[in-house]
């Protein structure tokens, strides 16, 4: 037999093997970044992590959870971190998520930055308190036809410390056609005094991955991963009148805020106006609780408004869009002399409209705080 039958495959195999070896040697040399030191907030914490991986994962390995809704794929833009060391120019994947000011201040997406050298970074202090919990779903309640109240019990021995108004990330496991675990942020509606639970109000969004999971698949007793707390939506410590506006599951942070005030006995300390906008009566919830607070506390005013009340609703309260109702109250009822702070939580459309009403009524944009659904 001709030797060529051995030589030809051997030659191709040999060349391929040699090239493969070269590639893996190059990989070993070139992609070996060793151990990398990350200095967080000027020495507040120092981590030693394995180089070569994205910063987001390097940090979460050591218990620092940067908010991320997409799990490091660079599609949510949440995992922003200020990087003081030079880590090269902005990636094309980062640009769409950063404002001009953030770019100037070296804000980067931590999921897009590969750990290559020692770094100095800055993150908001509260991220040190962010933890990861494997919770058990204790109770699911339908509060309206499309909003579920989901109560998660933290594992034994674990506690959560947060400020009312903050949010947590809720992870839906893979289901149906969704191949990856998916995280979404929801405001926590439970009071900070309950350190053993977190509660979310989750409204069904058509086509939503996590809301779809919660509404169609989630069962009591199931285990769900929750990461938190995040966010800076919280009540400012002043004695200005609070003008709160919410719609739908935007109720969540306010439920937590009011319950926190009740727990601390401060609910009556300042004037609070709580406007809640809904379409018809089947979209409003916690009515009894809020009416009761209104009755028992001189300074707490609850104003639910329906834009399309149905005949069977027997609605006697204000009707019309929440913006119209808010405008009327700001002009005629709420004291013009005392300063005001705006607190808004709801859909981007509603928020923008309400902010316009507030600024038209002489409220400064610096005094309007909001939590926009994204």
């Amino acid at each position: 037999m001709d030797m060529i039958f051995f030589i030809a495959p051997a030659a191709i195999g040999g060349i391929s093997a040699a090239l493969a070896a070269l590639i893996s040697i190059t990989d070993k040399i070139v992609n070996n970044y060793g151990e990398i030191k990350i200095d967080i907030n000027k020495g507040k914490k120092e981590l030693t992590v394995t180089g070569g991986q994205p910063m987001l994962f390097g940090l979460s390995e050591h218990g620092i959870f940067i908010p991320s809704a997409c799990g490091g794929r660079g599609s949510c833009g949440a995992c922003k971190v200020t990087v003081h060391s030079d880590v090269g120019p902005l990636m094309p994947t980062e640009v769409p998520y950063l404002t001009d000011e953030e770019m100037k201040n070296n804000v980067r997406l931590s999921c897009q930055i590969k750990l290559k050298q020692d770094l100095e970074i800055e993150i908001p202090d509260e991220l040190f308190y962010v933890q990861e919990y494997t919770t058990v779903i204790e109770k699911i309640t339908d509060v309206t036809h499309d909003i579920k109240e989901v109560l998660c019990k933290l594992p034994e021995g674990k506690e959560i410390t947060f400020v009312s108004g903050q949010y947590g990330q809720f992870e839906a496991p893979p289901y149906d056609k969704v191949k990856d675990p998916t995280m979404r942020a929801y405001s926590m509606s439970s009071a900070p005094s309950d350190k053993k639970h977190v509660e979310f109000l989750i409204r069904l969004v058509p086509g939503g991955i996590v809301t779809g999971y919660v509404h169609q698949h989630l069962k009591e007793g199931q285990k769900i991963r929750v990461v938190g707390p995040f966010g800076d939506f919280q009540v400012r410590d002043t004695d200005a009148q609070m003008i709160c506006v919410a719609g739908g599951s935007g109720m969540a942070p306010f439920k937590s805020i009011f319950q926190d005030m009740i727990d601390k006995g401060t609910l009556n300390d300042r004037e609070i106006w709580y406007f809640f906008g809904a379409r018809s009566k089947r979209d409003v919830f916690y009515l009894e609780w809020l009416y009761k607070l209104d009755e028992e506390n001189e300074n707490f005013h609850f104003i639910p408004a329906l834009s399309e009340p149905q005949p069977e609703d027997n609605w006697t309260g204000p009707t019309g869009l929440i913006t119209e109702v808010l405008d009327g109250y700001l002009k005629n009822t709420i004291s013009q002399d005392k300063s005001k702070e705006g607190y808004l939580c709801g859909s981007p459309g509603m928020l923008d409209a309400c902010m316009k009403v507030m600024s038209d009524n002489n409220m400064s944009a610096d005094d309007i705080f909001f939590d926009k659904f994204a």
């Binding site: 030589i7 030659a11 060349i15 590639i23 990636m91």
Partner: protein, 199 residues
């Protein structure tokens, strides 16, 4: 030593850039040439990437050809072997560039891996084999061809910047007018052909 190997590398270098431009004389590497040339910045990045990869792979393939394939009488395996080595070279280059210069890595972006399937790269290695270049000739021929490709795509993207703003019959807009433009460019370059010998 054959006649081709007597060609001065210096003249081979200029020949491969202008009179025997790999793109406009041999029409190799057309797909990325047409699709990328609509954006000047990307054209520049791709031109640079093609130049680097061409130079490196022509050198590697010359060594494989002369030290492995020819001694073993396996020249007929050159297609598959060249493709393997091009893919491997691109892979290694990508890793090295990522480590050495993040800025360059970012500006090349997706073009670097795409070059693996650019026919100009394989074409240059095959010409090198057919014409029996020496090692030095192969290197300058690779480098020159890359620079020629780079020049051609920059010229085309500059012209396309103009034609984008011109009135063009609807049926000819986009790729249609581009191919006609390339034809004119090729004619201009072919006017030089034969001035410098490449084989």
């Amino acid at each position: 030593m054959n006649a081709t190997q007597l060609i001065n590398p210096f003249s081979l270098f200029f020949a491969s850039i202008i009179t025997s431009n790999i793109l406009l004389a041999n029409f190799l590497g057309m797909c990325s040439f047409i699709s990328i040339s609509k954006d000047m910045k990307s054209s520049n990045g791709l031109g640079l990437a093609v130049t680097v990869v061409l130079t490196v792979t022509t050198g590697i393939n010359w060594a494989i050809l002369n030290y492995v394939l020819i001694p073993l009488n396996l020249e007929y395996l050159r297609f598959i072997v060249f493709i393997i080595s091009i893919a491997a070279a691109v892979q290694m280059l990508e890793m090295i560039i990522d480590r050495v210069s993040q800025a360059l890595y970012l500006s090349l972006g997706i073009f670097l891996p795409l070059i693996t399937v650019n026919c100009a790269i394989l074409g240059v290695s095959l010409f090198m084999e057919i014409r029996g270049y020496t090692f030095v000739q192969s290197l300058v021929y690779g480098l020159g061809s890359g620079l020629g490709w780079w020049l051609a795509i920059m010229l085309l993207s500059a012209i396309r910047k103009k034609t984008d703003k011109s009135k063009i019959a609807p049926g000819l807009q986009g790729p249609g007018i581009t191919v006609i433009t390339i034809g004119f460019m090729a004619m201009a370059f072919i006017g030089f052909s034969g001035m410098l010998a490449v084989q």
